[in-house]
Symmetry: C2
């Protein structure tokens, strides 16, 4: 038994309702013990609680804290800065920053141009759409976006999902105009969806695409695309005999994904796509009389983005498909954009407001859908290059857009002889980089259920369909949460001699059972989904403990202490379960007390009047005080 | 600062892997502090862990514990007792028990006969089906069931759901045979579903129908049925002018639901339905020449249940409907049956094995579907009467079945003149009793989100459809769990002076901030769904604390302690979040340490190699030890 003999005064609780649950002084003439009252949280009205809860749900980052205690003019400036981050860094923008941004902007442009053309092909769209998409959206993002390192443009995941989903229903070869219309419409809906998520501050929805899900999803999608492209490549391999190019290019491009790890090598990966496009185009031009079988991009129109708002498709049989594709590509591109933005913000220690980013990306896609762009977001690979090339602000996106502008206005004829083969190679390299088997292995090592979610996402996308594969993986992730809630751990605690510490008996070998007590920690909130289980499980603990004590000829237990520290919430079923357990234990002449209920649980215990039936002496602040107080009361009663 | 000066030796952990995470002795020449190692759980293989996890999921009640260390013959007997509980109580069955069971059996028969006829009508089935269903299933349950007080037969919820769902597609007036076939088929599938849930030990699935959901669902369903029946009643009111009967009957029957609360009055409620049936039938016989407009039950065939296995419908356009209806009525009747069984078992302190009950109820329905019965389960109202009438064993069900047998064989002609009106009144009374507004009010008082689930279930069932209404309510309940996980509480802790207790600063006014420390408790497992939120929220805590300290001119914080006691699980995203937070705090020259990670979290921290980057001195067993050790190390470094 561990009783601290030093005398400590009872802690004072808040005045109002706590007195009703405060423990009365010991009736038995025992030496005073260190027993503290269990307090209710300070009383709050339902409206107050709701406001607090809603602000935690929708405004966890407290975005308005900077507006507090400011003058109206300052508030206006802060407001402008809030909605248009350009006002934040604009005034301090210097030539030195411009120099850094210029270099990184040109660098990512050299990556964005070949990737833009390739990814548009991945989405089964005309190559020029990829360039258009690297022009308007980055400009809009540079005004609205809050990340300084995000390189905006088309990305592989969203492109391939759009390509896969749309071409399941509409053929891009037979009905190219309808296909294009649907692509713009899907982009529009992606933008609307993204902006509304941000505006309604529902950004947490994308958190449900866990990392495990995404790893599996990307690997599955990458395999699909790689096989598709490889089929195309193999189809022409007997014309060229140049298949060796691919492994070579692969090994070159493969550095791209390591650019973050080896910053000094990023030039290689950044330069590789453009270099290979230029070299292969020159080669094609030189050998064009000899190589007839190799398809090239062909004629590309010069000029800026034409408007496409007249091509949006708001009625007709494929509207549902466009909306579905829009939502899915919207979620996926949002996930990539936000994750990339947060990654680089963390590296440079600034904040990226997820919900604001969503609004920015959404508006950029809505504007894009009206100017011949398809879904864009912050690309991981180009943002990494951008960061390593020394980008300081979002101006690098403006520089990139300017470079794309020059290309669109003057350089388009140069791409006429670029072989499709090289675009397929760029695509394959990009998507193979999405297969992160190391991360999958780490998942397996650390968390088997996370690995299961990853595997199901992979197999589902590969063998069923993209939306269903993702849905299955999200389902498994949610199931994992529910499983943990439905079957929570319960552990028996013992005392570490000489201390007031109570720890898991099976984990700490020096922890000792406290005679006559069974101390159980419940490691989950008590909900409808686990109240029956916990009821049965606690009774089983009591039965097993009694059997063990009987077979070891020790004295019987007389009191069960539930350590409620980890019971972070309780609902009405949970409250019923607690009183049910108490009734059953009472029938076996066992006392049940609760130790350290957290604020919200304490509130509910109080509101449900369970405390009255429970007896006020059934609550203790710590397990140690419960043990000390109860055993001293036993000593007092002979 | 709270430092216990009494010297305690470091606790010994398990030998194997823990040494790698055990804290090294203090390098600084400080007086030895009470610092305990944080242990890993004892090492287990993946297979062991999986086995433990599966046994917790599927066998939480350890059903085989009685078979351990027994001789083969004893095991056989125990096995028989396990599968056929009749062997358990059969040998000790006495005349005294029979007397009690006889009285209660006859009592519930007097309730079961009129209710059976009425509920069959509620399911749009011929009245005789209700009597058949009160004969075969109770007999089967008496052999397999483990509850001693469950009164088996048709129940209102399952009847009305079956009636609503089937008649949405098939008209029971135009195609009575098809309707009957579908009803038997749905019953068959309900039985298969129930038995498989029990057999696969997936019983926890019914826990997802929370009490809140069911309260709302039953109220909604009751309103639908009451309105339907009332329409029928009003339709004939100008013939009879006897509408006053209903409120009278209602007030009589209303006692039924209170029979549990007022055991002495149960005779009234138990006798009321039969009495009113008899009285109204006599009245009809006497006045039959004058009352032509009132419909009566009409001819009922004498004789036992005919077989209906030839009527099962395993192919055809309505198979899907039959399966859907079967699963839904199966789940609902299971929920009622198990809940009722558990309620009375708790009152008499015996165990009801949920999964075994499911098998019993499932087999009883499968058998029922082959003998002209529709879905049956343990009825709440009749079980309460059964309990109050002194039932001792499941033999009361046998007596009830015998009484129904006598009725079927000899008394059927007596029901010829029973007015349909009285059946409608019985139905309305039964379903009005399902509206438990007091429970709904309690939900509102204790848990607003539970109340929301209840309300949505009510409105969904009322205005959309039964399956969708239930799905919405289950969705809300699950959403509530997810919301709690997605937006967990984080609280700042302070020290209660003179103790090692650290408690919520906003709840315990006497808890004091520890200078230079920010101690945060995270009140949820850290998952993909909340890792981003927690990351932002913890950084916001740091920011707000720094602002508060600066405005109060106190010394800055130097160390953040995360109390992990309530972090009952962590996944790979959570692990990433922890190292992310640590990196960000390090950039601000703040130290991050973890206090009291639970076993599974400790294991994952170890497996993910996060501990190595974290530094071994970043783990403490309690917040108190962390504070004492870190502040003493600061004192040592000037």
């Amino acid at each position: 038994m561990v009783i601290n003999s030093n005398r400590v005064e009872n802690s004072a609780c808040h005045d109002e309702p706590t007195t009703s649950v405060a423990r009365s002084a010991n009736a038995t003439p025992m030496p005073p013990l260190e027993v503290h009252k269990v307090c209710l949280p300070p009383p709050r009205t339902t409206v107050d609680k709701l406001r607090h809860r809603l602000s935690e749900i929708f405004f966890p980052d407290d975005p308005l804290h900077r507006f507090q205690d400011q003058k109206p003019l300052k508030k206006l400036i802060l407001g402008l800065e809030y909605f248009f981050p350009v006002f934040q860094w604009g005034p301090d923008y210097s030539f030195k920053l411009l120099k850094s941004d210029f270099i990184s902007g040109v660098t990512i442009a050299s990556l964005a141009i070949p990737q833009g053309i390739s990814y548009a092909k991945l989405a089964n769209l005309p190559p020029i759409i990829g360039l258009y998409s690297s022009f308007v959206p980055p400009l809009i993002y540079s005004v609205l976006g809050s990340s300084r390192h995000l390189a905006v443009g088309p990305v592989s995941i969203a492109s391939l999902v759009m390509g896969t989903m749309l071409s399941e229903t509409v053929s891009y070869t037979n009905e190219p105009t309808l296909y294009l219309k649907l692509a713009f419409t899907a982009t529009f809906f992606a933008g609307v969806f993204q902006a509304s998520l941000g505006f309604l501050r529902l950004g947490f929805i994308i958190d449900f695409l866990s990392k495990a899900t995404l790893i599996g999803f990307m690997a599955g999608a990458a395999v699909i695309v790689a096989l598709q492209q490889l089929k195309g490549l193999l189809g022409i391999s007997h014309f060229t005999g140049k298949m060796q190019l691919i492994p070579v290019l692969s090994s070159v491009f493969h550095h791209e994904n390591e650019s973050q790890r080896k910053p000094k090598l990023f030039w290689i990966s950044a330069a590789a796509p453009l270099t290979s496009v230029i070299l292969s185009t020159i080669l094609m031009v030189c050998l064009k009389s000899k190589l007839h079988g190799i398809k090239t991009i062909g004629h590309l129109p010069k000029g800026l983005n034409p408007t496409s708002s007249n091509m949006l498709y708001f009625s007709g049989p494929h509207l549902g498909l466009a909306i579905k594709t829009g939502i899915l590509t919207g979620v996926l591109s949002l996930t990539e954009g936000i994750a990339v933005g947060r990654t680089f913000a963390a590296l440079r220690n600034y904040q990226v407001d997820g919900n604001k980013e969503m609004v920015a990306i959404g508006l950029m896609n809505m504007a894009g859908s009206c100017s011949s762009c398809y879904v864009t977001t912050g690309s991981f690979s180009r943002s990494a290059v951008n960061y390593n090339a020394g980008a300081q602000t979002v101006v690098s996106n403006v520089i990139m857009a300017a470079a794309v502008l020059v290309t669109l206005l003057f350089l388009m004829p140069l791409f006429h002889y670029t072989p499709n083969l090289i675009l397929a190679a760029i695509i394959i390299t990009a998507v193979i980089g999405l297969i992160d088997y190391e991360a999958a292995y780490k998942l397996w090592k650390v968390d088997k259920l996370d690995f299961m979610a990853c595997l199901c996402s992979f197999l589902g996308v590969l063998f069923i369909s993209v939306p269903l594969g993702l849905a299955i993986a999200v389902g498994i992730s949610v199931f994992k949460i529910l499983l943990h809630v439905t079957r929570p751990n319960t552990v028996a605690l013992g005392n570490i001699p000489g201390t007031q510490i109570y720890q898991n008996l099976s984990r700490y070998t020096d922890a000792a059972r406290v005679p006559s007590f069974l101390i159980l920690a419940v490691e989950a909130p008590i909900y409808f989904a686990n109240s029956t289980y916990l009821q049965e499980r606690i009774l089983r603990w009591v039965r097993e403990e009694e059997e063990w004590l009987a077979s070891n000829k020790r004295s019987d237990i007389k009191c069960v202490i539930l350590d409620m520290t980890a019971v972070t919430a309780i609902d009405t079923s949970g409250l019923d379960a607690i009183s049910e357990i108490r009734k059953m234990l009472e029938k076996r002449s066992l006392k049940l007390v609760l130790a350290n209920p957290v604020g919200s649980v304490m509130e509910k215990l109080h509101q449900s009047n369970i405390l009255e039936t429970f007896g006020l002496e059934g609550l203790y602040l710590t397990v140690g005080e419960a043990v000390a107080d109860i055993s001293s009361s036993w000593k007092a009663q002979p």
